[in-house]
């Protein structure tokens, strides 16, 4: 019985609290504190190891996050793709590779911040907490890939419906209740990270520049006359 309550708490209450915080606080912060939306680059203070930390981390995390999103949004396509074993292997191996790339980059990010007093000086407690969360998340993700393989298949068939049930406001924990502990840990930490997101530097992900490729090179602002 207590297991049931725990599941309800971790996979229904917590996700809603985190998602609610995420939406409310990102909007609130954007409207009230838009100055604080910044990638807070540290390249200026340390430019030698910067590339080897930040670049692998971002390429890794972006591909991995995109993978999760795709499996969430179009699970059937993924299942169809996986119907062929070779294609399943290719997908799993590349997902693992990008996971490892993320880990290597992230370790680089943390070591770089730890070893250089200048960047350490601009690293806040929030940053450290975030790095620990991201590290745990990446490590648990890689472990899931290693110990509970074919995640690309069971994510699409079991977790995607669970996530959809959350978004449809009709939560159904039966899908996750049967998951191994490692996977549960990964899911809970994911929601916690989402809830913590608006209070961290991660908000830079929301302000990635999009109109740049289309806009005219020169930007002119008129005070009154024209638009």
């Amino acid at each position: 019985m207590s297991q049931h309550f725990l599941d309800q708490f971790l996979f229904v209450a917590l996700p809603y609290v985190c998602l609610f915080t995420f939406f409310l606080m990102t909007v609130y912060r954007y409207r009230m504190q838009s100055f604080s939306y910044s990638s807070l680059s540290s390249q200026f203070l340390e430019n030698k190891h910067h590339f080897w930390a930040v670049v692998p981390f971002h390429y890794g995390i972006l591909v991995v996050t995109a993978g999760h999103m795709i499996a969430f949004l179009i699970p059937r396509t993924i299942l169809a793709w996986n119907s062929h074993p070779l294609r399943l292997y290719v997908l799993e191996v590349s997902a693992l590779a990008f996971g490892l790339l993320t880990l290597v980059g992230l370790i680089g990010v943390v070591v770089r911040r730890f070893s250089n007093t200048k960047i350490k000086n601009v690293t806040t407690p929030t940053d450290w907490i975030l790095f620990v969360m991201l590290l745990l998340q990446t490590i648990s993700g890689i472990s899931v890939a290693l110990f509970h393989p074919w995640g690309s298949a069971w994510f699409a068939s079991n977790l995607s419906p669970y996530l959809w049930s959350i978004f449809k406001l009709n939560p159904d924990v039966s899908y996750v209740a049967a998951m191994p502990h490692l996977v549960k840990f990964h899911i809970v930490l994911a929601f916690l990270t989402i809830g913590f997101f608006p209070f961290t530097r991660l908000v830079h992900v929301l302000v990635i520049p999009n109109p740049y490729l289309w806009r005219k090179p020169q930007v002119v602002r008129w005070y009154g006359r024209r638009g």
Binding site: L45, K118, H204, V207, Y212, L213, Q218, Y223
Partner: protein, 497 residues
């Protein structure tokens, strides 16, 4: 014709005494803050020298400015549109603190707190970034007055293309020469910084052409820092926002000259409006190197021409601004007399700060014990100047000597003319011949002399009417406006969480 107005500038290098008052005035107002300690929106360099950041003119290293991409278009050298996507996480051409200097202060507390000992306590230099002790290796003016020095002067990127003899002429001790180059943002017509910003945070103000960074839109992608060939956008390492010279727009809007202009001891700075044809920006920016200076000048419109005035009015430029453009000292120096030139126009950003190149002493050599001057003339032949024409050409003429020689000749002719007028040891006929050779009349020489030597505040700074409060009232119901002011910026500009 698409007429726009631009607050433009002239720095008369012949008058700069290298006192750095301008830099300090600016620093005290704008960059005396955490994260901005290393920034000098205004800095003064010794030339020949490596400048700040070190060797900023070396675009092989910094990749600033525009380059032709081969099919008739200009691309940003550092990160063109397509190149920014894979490079947004790590900008390959971003200068780092090592290229500027690490700001420091002194551990004054030690003077009070040091334990009793046999030596006097000292205040050791400590970094303003992390508070650690540092061994100071460079500063914003480390090469100040070190023209002729092997590590600084010899590495000036403008020495390219000079003969060995000319280089020697610049660096051997008894024949040493140097001059000062004060620099601020040029508020360019084709600014690379603006074009490079993925977030569109940088913009040019339509009415006066001042280039600014919207602090609320900047996301620290740092593209502008790499893209500006003059290295006049700076990254604030604390707030995670880029910053730049704002031409003291709050001062301009209240009718005062920018702080560096106002405080200039040598009175070398002039400010005024230029009208230009914005439709021609792209065409001019693409011209071959040797046509750039003249092309750029040809964009600037004659504020007395009735057609220009009619077009200006059609573009919404007010009578007050047009009238201000007619009195602009910058127009005189740049267009009428052609003695002020844009710096490094080959970067193709079309800078709107122009420099009057300085005169320099006559060449000299020291074959035996006495110094021998190449010319005994008081006002020597321009080509016998100690600073080789090629050096000026690299700085102000995209490598071409013609425009620089023209500017220097005219300055020399004005001196001969005034010498003939006041001292009388130069005969009038020679002075007139010099004027003629320099394409200058006596009247023009008088005007140049007056605006150079006898200029008052009002002559130097012709600030257009740009009172924003009034501009608002003209367009909006004041009552309506009042309710909107002050909303939006809740909480101070604090570093991201």
């Amino acid at each position: 014709m698409n007429v726009r107005s631009q607050v433009s500038m002239v720095f008369h290098l012949d008058k700069c005494i290298g006192c750095h008052t301008c830099s300090v005035a600016c620093k005290n107002i704008w960059t005396d803050r955490k994260g901005a300690e290393y920034m000098w929106f205004n800095n003064v360099e010794t030339k020949p020298g490596t400048g700040y950041p070190t060797k900023w003119e070396d675009q092989e290293k910094y990749k600033g400015g525009w380059e032709s991409n081969g099919n008739g278009k200009l691309d940003i050298k550092s990160t063109s549109r397509t190149k920014i996507i894979p490079n947004i996480f790590h900008n390959p051409h971003m200068p780092s603190m090592d290229d500027y200097y690490e700001p420091w202060t002194y551990d004054y507390q030690n003077l009070f707190n040091a334990p009793e000992g046999s030596d006097q306590p000292t205040a050791e230099p400590i970094s303003m970034i992390d508070g650690e002790k540092i061994d100071v290796q460079s500063g914003p003016n480390w090469d100040d007055d070190l023209g002729g020095s092997p590590i600084y002067a010899e590495n000036d990127p403008n020495l390219e293309g000079l003969t060995e003899q000319q280089k020697l002429q610049l660096s051997s001790v008894e024949r040493l020469v140097f001059f000062y180059l004060p620099r601020i943002c040029n508020h360019c017509l084709n600014p690379c910084c603006v074009a490079s910003c993925p977030s569109g945070a940088l913009y040019k103000r339509g009415e006066d052409g001042i280039v600014l960074i919207d602090q609320k839109k900047c996301r620290a992608w740092r593209s502008c820092v790499a893209a500006c060939p003059y290295k006049k956008t700076y990254f604030n390492w604390f707030t995670g926002k880029s910053e730049k010279c704002l031409l003291c727009f709050p001062r301009l809007e209240t009718g005062q000259a920018p702080a560096c202009f106002h405080s200039c001891v040598g009175r070398i700075r002039y400010l005024g409006v230029l009208l230009y044809d914005a439709d021609r920006i792209e065409e001019i920016a693409k011209l071959p190197d040797d046509e750039l200076v003249e092309g750029h000048r040809s964009m600037i419109l004659d504020p007395f021409d009735p057609e220009v005035i009619a077009n200006a009015k059609r573009s919404g430029i007010s009578d007050g601004v047009i009238e201000s453009a007619q009195r602009s000292p910058v127009y005189q120096f740049v267009v009428k007399w052609k003695i002020a030139l844009p710096p490094h126009i080959e970067y193709r950003t079309l800078p709107m700060l122009f420099y009057v190149p300085p005169m320099s002493p006559v060449q000299a050599s020291k074959p035996e014990d006495t110094i021998h001057h190449a010319s005994e003339d008081l006002f020597h032949d321009i080509d016998a100047s100690r600073v080789p024409m090629k050096f000026f050409a690299n700085l102000f003429g995209a490598g071409h000597e013609g425009v620089v020689r023209y500017a220097l000749r005219k300055q020399k002719a004005v001196r001969w003319h005034r010498r003939a007028e006041t001292v009388g040891d130069v005969d009038r006929a020679t002075a007139d011949r010099m004027l003629h050779e320099a394409n200058c009349t006596r009247e023009e020489a008088e005007e140049i002399y007056k605006l150079t030597s006898l200029c008052t505040f009002e002559d130097r700074f012709v600030i257009p009417p740009m009172h924003r409060e009034q501009a608002i009232e003209m367009m909006k119901e004041p009552h309506e406006h009042r309710t909107e002011t002050g909303f939006g910026f809740v909480g101070g500009p604090q570093r991201g969480l």
